[in-house]
């Protein structure tokens, strides 16, 4: 899959409409898988990490290709990822503080 | 320029002095503040001073405070000295000179990164022991007693497990008796906003957060009266939300508890009898309970429990003292205070819920008459 993406990038470094479409398909399929997994009750608590990874993948695809972070200046990635990482850390810290000690 | 010409003492000292003098003055004003801190300033005997710990928790907390204060003072003196030395030594002598353009020194910078890191880690680690000590009620002592403190705007309610069995608890207000030498665990609750429970001489504060179920503990090493005050801003009369911890010998404590558990006295005095009637008719009993024992789980009342109000050293959450120097309630003081309170509670305590909600204060037609107040005072005074 990743090879495919690379080859279709072309020389301009810019993805084509075809690639955008492929990504959309991947996103849909992953979403379908997520919803499917959700009904697999035997997974138990494992659905949390699994769904986590899957949606992180979707997130990354959109950010990298649709928002063309992959092709743009690194600075933009820093700005966005900085905010994202901080937000995530705050979420985890608060969950931790609330569930463990309250 | 007018200011410059008639400078007065201030001006001439500071403006005319040479640079060195200025620096010395700066030094002096700093040193003065620091010195002042060390010597005569703090009054450990003040009612709420943290410098006179009378129980193990406060003591441990003070010890760690001293260490960090000394550490901080050393840092301050060293850094301050370096600053002042540089100012004196390197002041500009001529406009022409250009000093060597030093851009930095990695080794030095590393040094002053690492040393403070070690110092602060030292502080932190040294303090953690105390932190856990004050957070955890000692387990080895079987004698620990537990009581509940409940914050209200703007007074404290206290509940004790009753001597008459675990089903009942004794309710009182604004005054906690504890036995000397026994660790006391206090469960903290609040019925409205956040308050904070603080008796500086016994222990640092812990907040009373609605439905969070905090707790703390302390122990008094000697008998006495300890001042406490709400330390979390809680609305209009936050300043007027105080209480006292009274530590007594265990035997005395037991007597006190069973006295508190006993029902309120019936007085034979006719005026007091009349007062008892008014207490019901004027709606006082809508907020104040005269039963001292509450079934576990029965929720706090709007106003302080009055069953033994005449036995309390203070009225209205520490606002008025009823006791003589020896700590015995003086009926004359008590009556005067009760009268003042009933005449106009909001003068004693702005915003208090009694004057804003009791019909006798909100409804002009129901205002208490002089006679009624006297009767109520007589009645309440009888509630030993």
């Amino acid at each position: 899959m990743s090879q495919e993406i690379h080859s279709s990038e072309g020389h301009t470094g810019h993805p084509t409409a075809g690639l955008y479409f492929k990504i959309a398909m991947i996103l849909s399929v992953v979403t379908a898988i997520e919803v499917g997994i959700f009904y697999l009750t035997w997974l138990g608590y494992w659905i949390i990490p699994v769904l986590f990874v899957l949606s992180a993948g979707k997130f990354a695809l959109v950010a990298m290709y649709y928002m063309h972070l992959k092709f743009d200046h690194k600075l933009f990635s820093y700005m966005f990822v900085g905010g994202f990482v901080l937000a995530t850390s705050v979420i985890f810290a608060l969950i931790f503080l609330f569930q463990v000690w309250l | 320029m007018v200011t410059m010409k008639n400078r007065g003492v201030f001006g001439s000292v500071f403006i005319n002095s040479s640079r060195t003098q200025k620096i010395v003055l700066l030094l002096m004003s700093l040193a003065l503040s620091v010195l002042a801190a060390g010597c005569f300033i703090i009054d450990p005997s003040a009612n709420q001073s943290t410098f006179e710990p009378l129980g193990p928790v406060a003591e441990r907390q003070l010890t760690i405070f001293w260490w960090i204060l000394i550490g901080g003072a050393v840092v301050f003196v060293l850094v301050g000295a370096a600053l002042i030395y540089a100012l004196v030594k390197f002041r500009r002598r001529s406009e022409e000179e250009t000093p060597i353009q030093v851009h930095g020194n990695t080794r030095l910078e590393l040094l002053w990164t690492i040393i403070p890191a070690i110092v602060v880690m030292g502080f932190a680690i040294a303090s953690i022991n105390t932190l856990f000590y004050s957070a955890n009620v000692p387990k080895d002592s079987e004698k620990t007693i537990t009581l509940e403190a409940i914050g209200h705007q703007w007074w404290f309610e206290f509940r004790y497990p009753s001597p008459n069995g675990p089903e009942n608890e004794v309710v009182t207000a604004n005054e906690v008796y504890i036995p000397v030498g026994i660790p006391v665990r206090i469960n903290l609750e609040s019925v409205d906003v956040i308050h904070s429970f603080w008796v500086p001489k016994l222990a640092g504060k812990v907040d009373m957060v609605p439905s969070e179920g905090n707790h703390m503990w302390f122990q008094a090493d000697e008998p006495g009266e300890f001042y406490g005050q709400c330390a979390e801003y809680c609305g209009t009369s936050h300043a007027n939300m105080k209480f006292k911890v009274i530590a007594v010998e265990p035997a005395e404590f037991d007597t006190w508890l069973s006295d508190q558990a006993a029902p309120a006295l019936e007085s034979g005095d006719p005026l007091a009898k009349e007062g008892a009637g008014i207490f019901k008719d004027a709606g006082c009993s809508g907020c104040h309970s005269l039963k001292t024992i509450a079934k576990t789980g029965s929720k706090g009342r709007v106003g302080p429990n009055l069953a033994h109000v005449a036995s309390r050293r203070d009225l209205a959450a520490g606002m008025m003292n009823n006791a003589d120097g020896a700590g015995n309630v003086n009926d004359a003081y008590l009556q005067e205070n009760l009268r003042k309170w009933l005449e106009n509670p909001s003068e004693i305590k702005p915003g208090n819920l009694m004057s804003s909600q009791a019909a006798v204060y909100t409804d002009p037609n129901k205002t208490l008459t002089e006679r009624q107040i006297s009767a109520l005072v007589a009645y309440l005074t009888s509630l030993k």
Partner: protein, 255 residues
């Protein structure tokens, strides 16, 4: 160079700035970084209150995962059409651009429509079941809790704890923001996401209509579209998080 509007070049062209990057685009990225904290705080609130509601309904009672999956799919597809619109513009294909643009806006509006439907169906949620059916399920061990539990206890059992055989339950069990913590945090979080989408739709439509004016939206001035697209995709990735964390995890029983 000091003008925020001189930017005519797309992101591939070099700008007359220190880094060669466009001012407005940089601002957009900084804003998105900042908006992460905004949604982060809302999500943190949601998660901290997860499972702390004192009364129902709970996620499991009201969520309809298939429906939300569809609206999620619509939003994902709108991201695709957005990127296609942009790509068409950079190739000078104005017609394609307009078509993709308006379909993006329509899909955005559809998503909002779904959300409106969802909100109103949550707030008028009814619970109805045959007591005997639930009892059977409980016996077989394939019983999904939901609000059934509460009503089963209350309605289906008589004072001796015996099943009222042919009784059925049909009760109002709506979720409003005021109902419980779940309602409060859920409506606030998804509501703010919805507000972002709505703003995005307005923005996209503005661009769409402006594109009929000559020389406003052109191949060279594709930045205006690029910025709207970034915003739009961001709203999409936020939904990816919300869909997983709120909907899928929300209905997950062990959570």
């Amino acid at each position: 160079m000091a003008q925020e509007h001189t930017s005519t070049a797309g992101h591939e062209e070099h700008e007359d700035t220190t880094t060669g990057l466009n001012h407005r685009k940089m601002l957009m990225w900084a804003f998105l970084g900042s908006d992460c904290m905004f949604f982060g705080s809302l999500i943190a609130t949601y998660l901290v209150y997860q499972g702390k509601s004192l009364t129902g309904p709970l996620p499991i009672d009201v969520f309809d995962i298939p429906v939300t999956s569809v609206s999620t799919f619509v939003l994902l597809m709108s991201s695709m059409s957005m990127v296609l619109a942009y790509s068409a513009l950079t190739r000078g294909n104005m017609k394609g651009f307009r078509i993709w643009m308006v379909s993006t806006a329509i899909m955005g509006a559809t998503f909002i429509g779904f959300q409106v439907y969802e909100f109103s169906s949550f707030s008028t949620h009814h619970i109805h079941f045959e007591c005997s059916e639930v009892a059977e399920k409980i016996e077989h061990g394939d019983y999904v809790k939901a609000g059934h539990d509460h009503f089963f206890q209350k309605e289906c059992l008589d004072s001796n704890g015996l099943l009222k055989a042919d009784h059925h339950v049909d009760e109002e069990y709506g979720l409003k923001p005021q109902t419980n913590l779940f309602g409060t945090t859920f409506f606030t979080l998804t509501g703010f996401h919805g507000a972002h989408v709505t703003l995005g739709v307005v923005w996209l439509l503005s661009i769409f209509f402006l594109s009929f004016k000559k020389g406003v939206i052109t191949r060279e001035k594709n930045l205006d579209v690029d910025l709207a697209a970034l915003y739009w995709h961001f709203v999409d990735v936020v939904w990816i998080v919300i869909f997983t964390v709120v909907y899928l995890f929300g209905v997950f029983e062990g959570f």
